[in-house]
């Protein structure tokens, strides 16, 4: 055993040596306070090269989130789909009057719902790149900056179509849809001024055509549509997804369909599910829509013959698009566990008194073929014989079918969604009841969830086959939709270009 003095002396010597060593070499390696955030912070961005280019994939991914969530949100809020089960926060989105800032799908930051959030984040991220990153990135390419403006414009455009008013910066008062359209137009024009390359001109002219339709400009809209078609007369601009990290949002509820969440309107059954792969692109713009815009402008200008021609062009193009074969195991159940239409022998009347049409429902579960880009049940004969309101109804129907699952239907219906709850609660300049905080429901929209309903509901009976297995037997092969929303739109709203219903 050491003596006390020995131990003290050794201890003192050790402390002295360590202390001297640290004084000479510095003691960073012993500093326990140093921590490193594994995420990128603003400090990390200082002096980093090519930052606009670094942020472009982020903008593209955010655009994919914004697009996917907007498609899911607007398809379920419109008559295109109704909701089964609890996977989409219950059935509130089927009832326009129940949609509020607190509704789960509206008040969401998820990539597959949360349209409001994802559009705001897209626009804010583009703002950040333009105001904070770009000034420091001297070598940024014009083409890259043009793309940033395009994404910013698309955020404004989708907000203008589906929401009544949206604030665009902290403590801002909500900007009404008309102003959002104007902001979108400025962004697209800025993009075009920076890059006149074919692909940028195509996407911006398609977006501007859509924008001017929404603004109610029957002159500009067809001009931009024509410009797009002249660049490429069968173009499709899609936004791809990532099979693993950012799946096509509708695919989650249409194909994976763990709870059979999204169920199509029976007369649109032949178009579902459209996106059969996890990374399938969602159409951002395509030539068919340009023809529809031109047809609508022709109708607005009193030229039904031209309109019929444009509709024929759209139909022909849609028919030429590829189809997908898909093995669908969806049990097609409604909220009361009644089997929904799932037999090709079913005939559907679009409303009481309308003729029954066959071929709109596919046999499921089973292997089905659905359009991958565009499809319609409208025949050339339908187009050729239609006139007056019926031609407008046909335009709405073709838009509904051909642009199915592309996020256009809610805008055509004239419904506008409210902002999400934190925007209302955190912004001192927004109060409940202000424009943008409530759902706008046109008076022609039927009550409750009637847009989605058909009669009768019980069309199958469960029976046992010879082997004792339970099978569904069709007991009612004619069903009638409660409302033909396209007829209602044609009669009550008229053309969007003439009645843009801008707040």
């Amino acid at each position: 055993m050491l003596t006390s003095n020995h131990s003290l002396a050794s201890l003192a010597l050790a402390v002295l040596l360590v202390g001297l060593g640290l004084a000479v070499t510095g003691c960073d390696f012993l500093d326990p306070t140093e921590v490193e955030n594994p995420q990128t912070t603003e400090d990390d961005l200082e002096d980093a090269p090519d930052l606009v280019r670094v942020f472009l994939p982020g903008l593209e991914a955010q655009f994919a989130r914004a697009l996917g969530s907007t498609v899911v949100t607007t398809e379920i809020a419109s008559d295109n789909y109704s909701i089964n089960g609890t996977g989409l926060g219950g059935t509130a989105m089927d009832f326009p009057e129940r949609i509020t800032p607190t509704t789960a799908v509206i008040n969401s930051r998820d990539a597959d719902t949360g349209s409001y959030w994802n559009l705001q984040e897209l626009r804010a991220l583009a703002d950040y790149v333009l105001t904070e990153i770009l000034p420091e990135d001297e070598g940024a390419l014009d083409a890259d900056v043009a793309l940033v403006h395009y994404y910013r414009g698309m955020a404004f455009l989708m907000q203008a179509e589906n929401f009544s008013a949206v604030p665009i910066e902290e403590d801002d008062t909500p900007r009404p849809a008309a102003e959002l359209y104007t902001l979108a137009e400025a962004a697209f024009q800025e993009s075009r001024s920076l890059s006149s390359g074919g692909s940028n001109m195509l996407r911006t002219s398609a977006a501007l055509a859509r924008l001017h339709r929404g603004l109610g400009n029957p002159q500009e809209a067809p001009d931009y549509a024509q410009e797009a078609i002249e660049i490429d007369d069968d173009f499709v601009i899609g936004q791809g997804f990532d099979e693993q990290n950012l799946v096509n949002a509708p695919h989650i509820y249409l194909v994976t369909r763990a709870l059979q969440e999204m169920q199509p309107l029976p007369r649109l059954d032949f178009l579902d599910p459209k996106y059969t792969a996890r990374d399938d692109g969602i159409v951002v713009a395509k030539a068919e829509e340009m023809y529809f815009i031109q047809a609508e402008a022709a109708l607005a200008q009193g030229n039904p013959d031209a309109a019929r021609d444009f509709l024929s062009d759209a139909r022909a193009l849609a028919q030429s698009r590829l189809a997908t074969e898909f093995s669908d195991s969806d049990a097609r159940l409604d909220n009361n566990l009644n089997p929904r239409p799932q037999s090709s022998s079913i005939k559907i009347a679009f409303e009481p008194g309308a003729p029954f049409q066959q071929g709109l429902v596919l046999d499921r579960p089973g292997v089905i073929t659905t359009p991958a880009t565009s499809g319609t049940s409208v025949t050339q004969g339908d187009i050729a014989t239609a006139s007056g309101t019926e031609l407008v109804r046909l335009l709405y129907q073709m838009r509904q079918e051909v642009l199915f699952l592309e996020g256009r239907r809610l805008h055509d219906l004239g419904l506008r969604l409210p902002m999400m709850l934190p925007e209302l609660e955190q912004n001192p300049n927004i109060a409940a009841g202000d424009l943008g905080t409530e759902t706008i429901i046109p008076t022609y929209i039927p009550p409750a969830n009637e847009m989605d309903l058909y009669d009768p509901v019980e069309i199958y009976e469960e029976q046992e086959d010879e082997d004792g297995n339970d099978i569904l037997v069709l007991i009612e092969d004619e069903i009638t939709m409660l409302h033909d929303m396209n007829r209602i739109l044609a009669e009550e709203r008229g053309l969007v270009m003439q009645n843009p219903r801008l707040p």
């Binding site: 055993m1 050491l2 003596t3 006390s4 020995h6 131990s7 003290l8 201890l11 326990p32 306070t33 140093e34 921590v35 490193e36 955030n37 594994p38 995420q39 990128t40 670094v54 994939p57 982020g58 593209e60 991914a61 955010q62 994919a64 609890t86 219950g90 930051r109 409001y116 959030w117 705001q120 984040e121 897209l122 626009r123 804010a124 991220l125 703002d127 950040y128 949206v166 604030p167 665009i168 910066e169 902290e170 801002d172 791809g240 997804f241 990532d242 099979e243 693993q244 990290n245 950012l246 994976t256 763990a258 902002m419 999400m420 709850l421 934190p422 925007e423 609660e425 955190q426 912004n427």
Partner: protein
């Protein structure tokens, strides 16, 4: 100072010379005697001391002591023994004679002389403490049929809520002391082992269906000498920004000087599943089991018969302890295996522990302790996982989910997925104590806790119909935890005698914690493949966090006439998670204790009813640091189509600071009625300011949510602990104990933030709302909207209950016969909670009414059937009151007469049961279980799928020491 010491030394020398002279002249005397307990039992090992002479002896096996060589004269003699009052007598020693002085020791129920160190920086006798510190002794630990620290705490800490998660291995309890103090942070107390901060995280693995692995489950109870518990407040203040949840200090067992003592222990046990909370297949598959033509005919208890099983467990321990005057050691090893009460529930444990203490010099001690634990276990899916067999069979989904025709076929599929995990844990502590004199001592402690776990879930392709995978799925999760603790404490005790005494403690303490996780998932595997490299597609991700917390502290304790003790302390803390504009945080404490100092006062006033009494009051502040990196404005990049795609992540907050809890507490500890009755009462009020809320940014900014210090939370409560000796005579002693705790929790300020939900079930929310307790249940409630007396609508309303209890308590009974037979029983109970019953909701989809629901009427009074579970949340909230007979043990220590022929120094056998009976007001969910949690952060529990209770355990153990 020096001259003072010289003077003392000179006097001592003088005295010794005088005494030596005296002895030489007239010889010496001897003091002998017997020591027994008040119940007449012989007490071996009692220290009998003559402080003035610094002489003493311990009683032998017959309870007899003998002190020789005493100079004639009059002396004060003390008899001291743990658990008994110190007895004092005055004797007169005569040269050449034996003086007899017997002692009858009275049991000390309040143990005022017991020494504790947690939160004090030094050893302090309990009578001087101004705040309550709980102690679980080695005896308590030995008699408890438990293997992990969280199980040990159940029923043993007044004012705590400790709820198990399920019957599956690897899980730990949700622990809470004195109410919930945060709406975002975990409430688990910090845990120190031999001065080293260790991993206490309750969610260290992926949570499949709400069940994850807890680091508490591999904190084992073998070779623990003592556990000290401070529940936050003044007693925890010296732990600063880490202490708001309270502190648990574990001290491992050290070796005793002497020849090597080898101890063998084996434990054999049987686990029986608790079926009380199952309706079973007679309910969920009624039509099939009642149909004579159905292959499942008659199988109305399929869960009990085919899924649940009797488990077997075996445990072997060997320990060696001993040492010389300068080196002592205690090393042990343990192997344990259990088969569990559900399929795929096996667990195996290997543990080593060692503790070596060396006296390097007379004033310098070095202590080293270390433990290694390897734990392997496997679980089945449970909770909200779709592949959870218990839920699927109980609520009628088993055939539908698996696509199988019979219950047997379905079960086969449900048991294909496996969740396996291995944990490796090293905990090392090294400390040196330098005490050159009674006036000054200092201690340096350094240590590390390293815990690595690897979890693998495998969904084989054969289970695809159930899991929804395509050709199987392999999920792997690795977590690597490291923490380093460094502490220095110095104590100056001067003056130690006189009217005023002073103990000044100062020091520095800090820890650094690093956690990294790696997650990988491979999809599409060929049958039998368990390697990512062979998967069709692989995704992977990782997380990393680092945090440093460190501070300096000082504490002064002043004793006045040994009657009043006043203490004041301060800790200054810095932390790498604080915002850039936040400097050091100060945590003050102040307390006063007034122990019994004038026995005549109590005797005069209460006529002997009161034997001992200490009054105490304390104020102290503690903190809870925020998450690492929550202060930074950051970006998060995800993989998107082959590119790294950045987006906004955390908005950043330069003012992010710890949550601060200020606690004012007061109470007393007393012994009454001739030491037959002891009572410990504490009343406290704790106010948490700067409570952190995850505040949404305006969506227009594109930024999501940011932690901000905006709230205020209040907890008020009372803790009572009582012990009564019912019988104490003829070698039979029977004592009863009861503990009770009540806490009232309220969110008093939310900084203007709107209400939000901590978690949401289908029809009930754990709500954060000003004026309500944290997580108050707000459930869909049917009501009468048109005044006809019949419920026709539903809306969300607060139910007045919480997911966690607010009244908790326990009862103990301890019977000792002849000092070698002891019977111990422990029951604990809780009330005030409600538990959301997911199972009854899911049963609804199969047309099953598992929980009774309210009948719905239309506006005209026509009956519409039952409200759906979406509209009738109140019927799915089950009463959470329970009482569990937690432990019953009988142990028998072989008398010495039997030991000698066998050459054993001790031998004992014991039979113990755990979780023996549950009393509850309903039989749909086990109200004790914490249920579904997501790991990390604030976990309130309180919502359950069909989850199996911890099993009824019966253990037979045999221990011999050579």
């Amino acid at each position: 100072m020096n001259s003072y010491w010289y003077l003392i030394g000179l006097l001592a020398l003088l005295c010794s010379v005088v005494v030596t002279e005296a002895q030489a002249q007239s010889g010496t005397g001897t003091l002998v005697g017997d020591v027994v307990s008040s119940s007449g039992d012989v007490l071996p090992g009692v220290n009998v001391l003559i402080p003035a002479e610094n002489q003493g002896a311990a009683t032998n096996a017959e309870g007899r002591y003998r002190i020789e060589g005493l100079s004639p004269g009059s002396y004060e003699v003390q008899a001291q023994f743990v658990g008994f009052r110190t007895e004092t007598a005055t004797v007169t020693i005569t040269a050449g004679q034996e003086t007899i002085q017997d002692f009858t020791m009275r049991e000390d129920l309040v143990q005022m002389e017991e020494v504790v160190v947690t939160g004090l920086g030094q050893s302090v006798e309990r009578r001087k403490l101004s705040a309550d510190v709980g102690v679980i002794s080695a005896n308590d630990i030995e008699e408890a049929p438990v293997s992990s620290i969280d199980q040990l705490l159940q029923g043993r800490v007044p004012g705590s809520s400790i709820r198990s998660q399920s019957a599956q291995p690897g899980q730990g309890a949700l622990i809470n002391f004195r109410g919930i103090t945060s709406v975002f942070a975990s409430q688990t107390p910090v845990i120190y082992i031999d001065g080293v901060r260790v991993d206490n995280n309750s969610g260290t693995s992926l949570s499949f269906g709400g069940e994850s692995t807890s680091a508490l489950s591999d904190l084992l109870t073998n070779d623990i000498e003592r556990v000290e518990i401070t529940k936050g407040g003044a007693a925890s203040t010296l732990y600063g920004s880490d202490a708001a949840n309270g502190v648990i200090q574990i001290f491992t067992r050290r070796g005793q000087e002497g020849a090597p003592r080898v101890t063998f222990r084996t434990e054999q046990g049987v686990d029986f599943p608790v079926t009380k909370f199952f309706r079973d297949t007679g309910f969920s598959f009624a039509s099939a089991v009642e149909d004579p033509d159905d292959p499942d005919f008659g199988r109305d208890s399929f869960i009990a018969d085919e899924i649940l099983e009797t488990g077997y467990t075996q445990n072997y321990y060997v320990g060696v302890s001993g040492g010389s005057e300068s080196v002592t050691y205690n090393v042990s090893g343990r192997v344990q295996n259990g088969t569990g009460v559900q399929p795929n529930n096996e667990n195996t444990l290997y543990a080593l522990r060692g503790n070596v203490q060396t006296e390097v010099a007379s004033d310098l001690n070095v202590n080293f302790s270390g433990a290694y634990t390897r734990s392997n276990f496997s679980r089945v899916n449970n909770g909200t996982a779709i592949a959870d067999p218990l839920t699927a069979f109980e609520v009628g989904d088993a055939k539908f989910f698996s696509g199988q025709g019979t219950l047997d076929e379905a079960l086969e599929l449900f048991l294909l997925p496996t969740i396996k995990e291995g944990v490796d844990r090293f905990t090392l502590s090294a400390s040196g104590t330098y005490a050159p004199s009674d006036l000054f001592s200092s201690k340096l402690t350094a240590g590390i806790d390293s815990r690595v776990n690897e979890q693998r879930r495998r969904n084989p392709s054969a289970a695809d119909p159930l899991t929804g995978n395509q050709d199987g799925l392999l999920t792997r999760f690795d977590r690597n935890y490291k923490s380093i603790t460094l502490e220095y404490v110095g104590t100056v005790s001067y003056p130690r005698e006189g009217r005023i005494t002073s103990d000044f403690t100062f020091g520095a303490q800090g820890f650094r914690e690093e956690i990294s996780t790696v997650f990988g998932e491979g999809e599409t595997l060929i049958p039998g493949s368990e390697s990512f490299g062979e998967a069709g597609s692989v995704i992977a991700s990782e997380t990393q966090s680092e945090i440093f917390n460190g501070g300096v502290f000082a504490r002064e304790q002043i004793g006045i006439d040994d009657r009043v003790f006043i203490n004041a302390g301060l800790r200054l803390d810095g932390n790498s998670a604080f915002g850039a504009d936040i400097g050091l945080q100060a945590y003050p404490s102040l307390g006063v204790a007034k122990p019994r100092s004038d026995e005549s006062f109590w005797t005069r006033t209460f006529g002997g009813v009161v034997n001992e009494m200490k009054l105490r009051a304390a104020y102290g502040e503690t903190g809870k640091f925020p998450e690492p990196f929550a202060r930074d404005f950051s970006f998060q990049s995800t993989s998107f189509r082959g590119n790294a795609a950045p987006r906004f992540s955390n908005p950043g907050n330069v003012n992010l600071s710890p949550e601060r809890t200020a606690t004012l507490e007061g109470g007393f500890e007393g012994a009454f009625f001739d030491d037959r009755f002891a009572l410990n009462l504490t009343v406290y009020t704790a106010r948490t300011t700067d409570a952190i809320f995850d505040v949404p940014e305006q969506p227009a900014t594109g930024l999501s949510t940011q932690l901000r210090n905006i709230g205020e939370i209040q907890n008020r409560g009372i803790e009572v602990d009582a012990d009564v000796t019912v019988l104490a005579r003829n070698n039979v002693r029977w004592a009863l104990g009861a503990a009770y705790g009540y806490v009232k929790n309220e969110i008093t300020d939310m900084g203007g933030e709107p209400d939000f939900n901590l978690s949401t079930t289908v029809s009930a929310q754990q709500r954060i709302s000003e004026g309500e307790p944290i997580g108050a249940w707000r459930a869909a409630t049917p009501f009468d909207s048109n005044g006809d007396g019949l419920p026709d609508a539903a809306e969300l309303r607060f139910t007045g209950s919480t997911p966690y209890p607010n009244h908790t308590g326990s009862f103990t009974s301890r019977l000792t016969i002849n000092e070698n037979i002891s019977v111990f029983a422990l029951a604990d109970w809780a009330t005030g909670a409600e538990v959301f019953d997911w199972g009854s909701h899911w049963a609804q989809f199969n047309g099953l009414v598992r929980a009774e629901r309210i009948t719905q009427y239309d506006e005209d009074g026509n009956e519409l059937g039952l409200f759906s579970t979406e509209d009738d949340g109140v019927s799915l909230l089950q009463d959470g009151d329970y009482l569990k007979i937690r432990e019953v043990s009988v142990s028998y220590r072989l008398p010495d007469a039997f030991l000698e022929p066998l050459r054993l120094s001790s031998a004992s056998v014991s039979l113990a049961g755990r979780n023996l009976f549950t009393f509850s007001r309903q039989d749909l969910v086990d109200p004790e279980l914490a249920g579904i949690t997501s790991g990390g952060g604030l976990q309130l529990g309180g919502s359950q799928s069909i989850t199996l209770s911890p099993p009824r355990q019966v253990r037979l153990s045999l221990e011999v020491t050579l």
